[in-house]
Point group: C2
Chain length 457, copies 2
């Protein structure tokens, strides 16, 4: 069973008690830790670092684990927590730990260190290792290269099945996955792939080139990591090979890393949808100052955008003064338009993110949205008409009902089109956030409502 | 390389041309299809069914594929499209196709068929197969049981490594994954697990019970499928074993199915965040009527909720009539409160969905939100003060600034608390959608603003 929140908390308290005793019994602790999973130990460590700010205890705990285990645990921690911990380690311990980490996690951590520490570490590494690390650390953040690992199983073209099996066995301890095998030619170019399952049932004397799949799904090293995650999900891959401009194989993106990317992309889009900038960590951990900065930009911008609504109202001041009852329906009308528009925008943004909606679908979707939004507007107009009659008579009810249909229709179409327009101008469609759509519709709603009122009343 | 949107469209046109010729050349077509991936063929088929409503062509195309391939392609199609296609198949062809499908996909499709067809099919199945299908089809939608497959590799406790390897080789053609192996005792209880990698490097004579991992991460068959997806992501699993109430192993949830669940959960939360009900398919495919229904409920409800804002305005009609300039700032103030509140709600909802935020963090987060929202409110008040002075003098500016801080603070705290309150009452926190939060804040904002105005002016 996986650990529940409560039992994790209990385990944490237990461990803290044992660790902060005067002479901690390392054997008992090691025994207890061996029963826990790396992901769970990492969560406990993270809690200790952040809630209790007790770094010495964390170091004692890591010290009790084997190097391999400690490297594993470290890999589950957020980047900044990793840095906090390793800053307290000697170069020797740190180097030993780095060696045990997966090549992708090693490069990520390396990129977070300060210049001096990086130089010092590089000087103490073996040539091959240093070059591999420098190469992996050099890929731009957000690209497939930045999340790939170089620990994959490559088989030279021309090898037999039994030779390949031998190679798989040799590589097994270090490779991120041994279940997908890549065949490369003498130039390092990716020529084919096969699963371990295929290899296991193949005739031992066969040459891999004769049984491999030649048409390999791969991704360029500079392509977006979100694209890598989408390809992994679409074709149900265990790992996706990454190639450079010359078609040479440089790494793989594994299914678990792809899942992490997909999750953080969804979170990012979620936040964008409410006009929140990209947070560097979970909401409970990110610094308060950063949370302020990520939220304030759009809020203040929207304050000024909202002035257009105010200006609209100022323009119709006479109409309002003549019939103050009109103001009664103002929040209702512009709110409804905003809600319908935000719905339409959300459907498009998410559809575009999951690949369900493409620019080619625009025409078809516009027709559908016209029908749906029209029906929605009429339904809402019917709902609001009795109240209009009650509050201000039939004329006012007519104004309100007519405005409702127009505003909902206009809002929905605007909400639907905005993501496509943004995409066209190479802006992330998720920027068409609910607050932006709502504010735009608010201003237009004011004008539509009072224009109709001025015309009819 | 994976296919781009455009090349998929080209391939579709090509295939349609070849298929609708009077005597389609099946050999050439088979050759062409063999170069395509199942996921891509499925997308083309889906397009043909939906855009062109050309079912006969789809059947011809499926007929050219091998049974195994056809079953594979079918598995990538949305449920309703699968049903449309198989309705046109004879029982014999359908049964042969079902046999080739993965057990989880078979059960899903089976559940979508009408009663008569189900009965007819069951009668023609072998006993073992029928029981397996009935069992898998019986799990409630949304549970781990409903997405698990029963095609996994189980090893009897007591077997040696070499016996186990033999078993893996035998099961390889049918199992969903052979890379994770489960050890069960004579009662069918799950006692341990090991990876194929571990098995490959183990001494052939060793007994699996001595090398397996005994503390297996598993999930109950009735637990939510989202929980299964979270466990797979948290522990980077290839597959998660599913057990019944007696700890007997009944299936596995594979990493690719977990990724699909995580994606559709994110989409669902996205839509809920904008008060859209759960769509049964992508936005470009779902029927218009269904799209209307999923959007209208909340919209109409919010119309009535918005009446509270109207009532608030009606209550302060005298204040407004005395100083119409107040209305100028109304959209701005309640809009800003709504935006800040929606931001706070979104951060909480997503944090709770990804497991980053728990109820235990509530106190800490409340303190943080007070600080952040306070700072945001003050910033926005400063931004709006000059406009207040310009429009209506210092007194009005003071009213607006003071209202801004109060409304933003109140809105943010409301937005933050609502998801927790809903969770407490066992309602999905994602129901605390932006429109709901905004509407609640709108009404409160009206009261706050005009109360402050009445007091000061």
């Amino acid at each position: 069973m996986s650990l529940s929140d409560e039992s994790l908390q209990e385990t944490k308290v237990e461990l803290l008690e044992a660790l902060t005793q005067e002479a901690p019994n390392k054997e008992v602790l090691a025994e207890r830790l061996s029963e826990l999973r790396s992901a769970d130990i990492a969560e406990i460590l993270e809690d200790i670092v952040e809630d209790d700010e007790d770094l010495p205890t964390v170091l004692t705990l890591l010290d009790i684990l084997s190097l391999e285990r400690a490297a594993n645990v470290l890999g589950y921690l957020p980047g900044e927590v990793q840095v906090e911990i390793v800053e307290k380690l000697s170069d020797t311990t740190f180097l030993a730990l780095l060696e045990e980490m997966g090549s992708d996690e090693r490069a990520d951590l390396f990129n977070l260190l300060d210049e001096d520490r990086r130089e010092a570490l590089l000087r103490q590494m073996a040539h091959q290792e240093r070059e591999d690390l420098k190469r992996l650390a050099s890929y731009e953040e957000g690209t497939a290269g930045a999340i790939m690992t170089s620990d994959y199983v490559a088989i030279a073209s021309g090898m037999t099945v039994s030779q390949s099996m031998m190679r798989v066995r040799q590589t097994a301890p270090d490779a991120e996955t041994v279940y997908q095998i890549y065949i490369v030619d003498s130039d390092g170019k990716l020529t084919g792939t096969m699963s371990l399952r295929q290899l296991m049932v193949a005739r031992p004397g066969a040459v891999v080139d004769d049984i491999m799949i030649k048409d390999v799904i791969s991704i360029g090293v500079d392509e977006a990591q979100e694209e890598a995650a989408r390809v992994v999900a679409r074709y149900d891959l265990l790992a996706l090979p990454v190639i450079d401009a010359d078609n040479r194989m440089v790494g793989i993106v594994t299914h678990d890393d792809a899942m992490d990317v997909a999750e953080s992309e969804a979170t990012e889009d979620f936040h964008k949808g409410m006009s929140i900038g990209q947070l560097e960590d979970g909401v409970s951990r990110v610094p308060i100052w950063s949370l302020y900065r990520k939220r304030v930009f759009w809020l203040v911008l929207l304050v000024f955008a909202n002035l257009f609504s105010g200006a609209g109202i100022a323009y119709f001041e006479e109409t309002i003064a003549a019939q103050v009852a009109l103001v009664f329906f103002l929040p209702l009308l512009i709110g409804s338009g905003g809600n319908a528009g935000a719905q339409a925008a959300t459907l498009m943004v998410r559809g575009m993110a999951t690949g369900d909606v493409g620019v080619k679908d625009w025409g078809k979707l516009l027709g559908r949205e016209l029908l749906v939004a029209g029906s929605l507007g009429i339904t809402m107009a019917i709902a609001v008409t009795p109240i209009g009659i009650m509050r201000g008579g039939e004329a006012l009810a007519m104004v309100v009902a007519f405005s409702m249909v127009t505003i909902v229709l206009f809002g929905s179409l605007l909400g639907m089109c905005l993501p496509f327009v943004l995409e066209r101008f190479k802006v992330d469609p998720a920027t068409a956030s609910a607050p932006l759509v709502t504010t735009l519709i608010d201003a237009s709603g004011v004008v539509i409502y009072f224009s109709i009122a001025t015309a009819i009343l």
